[in-house]
Symmetry: C2
Subunit: 333 residues, 2 copies
């Protein structure tokens, strides 16, 4: 407070050196004698000096910032409050920090249509991580084509001109469904929206297991929210009674919505109906019965996402990659 902002040249004067020396010292440049470096760094700390990031960025032509944009469909009601999405963001945050970058949290509202222009030409960030592939990839593709360093959390099987990192959704769906069948379920239900890339893969896995085991199966297409799941199970129970004994829900939130509807109508889980979800959000172990689910390794994925983005920054190109998921068996199945 009070005293005007110290700048590098002020610090240099206080230290009795030139600004170039001061700059080098603060950046730990070995050109500067070690003791000079340390003296200047101590002085900087003492005077609470920080380099002006704006000036530095202008000069360096890079920002050390990564933008994360949460890419939600307008059409779906899956909200930014989805605990899973938020967990992904928070893991990305950690991964980004570990590499010495900052995280600009953004969205279509700010970035508009032209992500390359906004983030890259606008020197707001050096690269972009998109969380959520959505159903419509035009904007991502356009940004990538414009030369934006960009990586996406989504379904790695999708062919694209940018790397996608995500879980092995097909195998996840397969494992979940085979587990349901192994536990004795023979009339299966998939709850979700296969139109969404990742969920489509999970559904493929589901279908594959179903065909192999030659059991009955159907799919109810719903919005990916607990409310929609609750409503749809409720409606189904009311209209046709209990027509299934195993549910593979496309997400934990969906599974929990279904679970509630079942319990309200005194359908016993797992005795009458077995349920497996996807994600392994915190609530999965707190629900009663605790929810069996496919755990997505968001931490590993976040790290990969950041690594791939940084290697794009140094000119390399990288491929999409699947992250192993794992079945967590709890009480609901």
């Amino acid at each position: 407070m009070g005293t005007t902002q110290l700048k590098l040249s002020d610090l240099a004067r206080l230290a009795g050196v030139s600004t170039s020396t001061a700059s080098r010292a603060l950046n730990d440049n070995p050109l500067i004698k070690k003791e000079t470096r340390e003296r200047i760094q101590a002085l900087a700390k003492e005077h609470h000096f920080s380099v002006n990031a704006a000036a530095s960025r202008l000069r360096m032509q890079k920002t050390k910032v990564i933008a994360v944009i949460i890419n939600l469909e307008a059409e779906t009601k899956q909200s930014v409050d989805d605990p899973f999405l938020l967990k992904v963001v928070s893991d990305i945050n950690r991964a980004v920090n570990r590499k010495g970058y900052e995280l600009l949290l953004s969205n279509s509202y700010m970035a508009g249509e032209d992500w390359h222009g906004y983030f890259i030409s606008g020197r707001r960030a050096d690269g972009v991580i998109v969380v959520g592939q959505g159903k419509e990839q035009a904007r991502i593709e356009r940004a990538a084509r414009a030369g934006t360093p960009i990586v996406v959390w989504g379904d790695p099987k999708t062919s694209a001109n940018y790397p996608i990192v995500g879980s092995d959704n097909f195998i996840g769906g397969l494992n979940a469904t085979e587990h349901l069948i192994a536990r004795g379920a023979s009339k299966l239900l998939f709850l979700g929206d296969p139109g969404h890339a990742e969920l489509g893969e999970r559904y493929r896995g589901f279908c594959h297991a179903v065909e192999k085991a030659k059991v009955e199966a159907k799919m109810i297409k719903i919005d990916i929210t607990s409310e929609a799941a609750y409503a749809s199970i409720n409606a189904s129970l009311r209209a046709q009674g209990l027509t299934f004994d195993g549910i593979f829900a496309c997400s934990d939130m969906v599974a929990l919505g279904a679970l509630k509807a079942l319990k309200e109508r005194y359908v016993s889980v797992p005795n009458d109906v077995r349920i497996v979800g996807f994600d392994d959000i915190a609530m999965a172990q707190i629900s009663f019965p605790a929810l069996s689910t496919i755990k997505q390794d968001t931490n590993a994925a976040a790290q990969l996402l950041v690594e791939k983005l940084l290697s794009q920054l140094s000119g390399e190109t990288c491929a999409s990659q699947e992250v192993p998921s794992s079945l967590v068996i709890r009480q609901s199945s």
Copy 2:
């Protein structure tokens, strides 16, 4: 791609005007003739031109960025994944965007101890919003004293040299407890950690209601997580049997952990024990039975937080403020 970055002077040349005219035109400065302005803006769009934010920030001495720092205790296990915290962040994000600012998501890891130095002197942000008051306010206070424009989500009753916005925790606790009593509970339990400022106020409200109604009450101090709540209710049930018939949990996550322990031991909710939580996270309505809770208006709070921060930026000082909360009655009580 390919073609080198367009800068303002290039755009100006393309338009046949000077850079100052171009700059003014893009900033909608009425000094420039309307048609010139529009012509230049169209040209900018056509060429995907964006002003270099680094240069602009250097020149303007402001960033149009607000840093949000999630302030968690090292000691507590309450994690960044707490759905409520994340909801607050996401509401702040919206509020910040509406005012034309961007959101830098940060944490102690990046910002270190000297927030003023890092964010303000470092020209990374114009102001700081701290989510979570924590038990230790030294860093916040120091930043405020150094002249950082700063606002905090926390307990507004705390006296501080910075504005705090949060729910009326005392009234929330009071209402929750009175509701429990009105529903017939007479042996109450508070589950949480009154050492934390906001929770302390909720506990005060609890005690006030208890004294007024002259009912039995006790408090179990736990870490603010569902796991801790689950473990503690489990232990209590095992050791002493059912010694309470009403629980006021300091958060929904805690309430849900308690609920699970109860259900596992066949204690009926709400017949044997009534529970009320705090926050109204999405899971509250999806749990079975649906959780009664005190809803915090995070959206209103986020807006206030941002408004107060922005008015600090224009030199005003502002006071702390409470946001009304409301009791949401569902099935658990």
